[in-house]
Symmetry: C2
Subunit: 161 residues, 2 copies
Amino acid sequence: MIDQIKHAIQDDYPDDFSHCYGCGRLNQEGYHFRTGWDGDKTVTIYTPEPQHTAIPGFVYGGLIASLIDCHGTGSASLALHRKHGHEPGSTQEPPRFVTASLHVDFVKPTPQGQTLKAVGTPEEIHPKKFKIHTEVYAGDIVCAKAEVTAAVMPATFTANK
Amino acid sequence: MIDQIKHAIQDDYPDDFSHCYGCGRLNQEGYHFRTGWDGDKTVTIYTPEPQHTAIPGFVYGGLIASLIDCHGTGSASLALHRKHGHEPGSTQEPPRFVTASLHVDFVKPTPQGQTLKAVGTPEEIHPKKFKIHTEVYAGDIVCAKAEVTAAVMPATFTANK
């Protein structure tokens, strides 16, 4: 499995859509999650900060949910972009998705001090909707299993710009 | 509906369990979510910070998921504590829960600059498990609907102390 994301879809989002606290490269205080392809799987890699604790020694579930959320929208964007014949790092602007629903099963306590990898399988369920099946690994251990349904960002989201 | 939480269950968690990034009063950098009763509903109130954006003008879904997560474990603790005859603010130490699963439907974009209220209905589904049905309001608008399954914290969580 890859250890770093060379070309992330978030690197190519238009500036206006790059302020997300989870994955926006222009959000100074956010997590800067970055999602790319590893074959036909999508991968997001992140090492939680020391303050992201549930109880000391274990990672906060809300941080894991945040990782899965942006991994989901990023994976959907990767999948639709590839369907259109494009890869991240090309000059084409990728589609931007929002999360319609998020489901996380926390199957094991997630240890602190390790790099986490969210590994996703995108499934097209509608021309504008993808379901992303995701597992979050700490080393070889699956700590969370998740499903995100992501939809192409509706016009209402940018109507107040 | 109440506008502030006088007695929150998190105020009474033992110090060792008060480092959660979401709801730990001893986590210097966390959100400090606080959950209390409003009749037979549980309520957590939080105003997102300016950096907690999805795209400018709207709140980041991962922050909403985090609010729902800690609201869920806090609500389960409130419910089991009440079942045992105790209310927050008493001298009794409340039970501490972990999140087994989290499901969020993002039903409307959540506007920035407003105070959010998570309003929950705890349902006992097992002597050590509660399902918390939650709606997140921005003003009068329901922006997210959620279900959290919370379980009494297993011994494995504190085995490495």
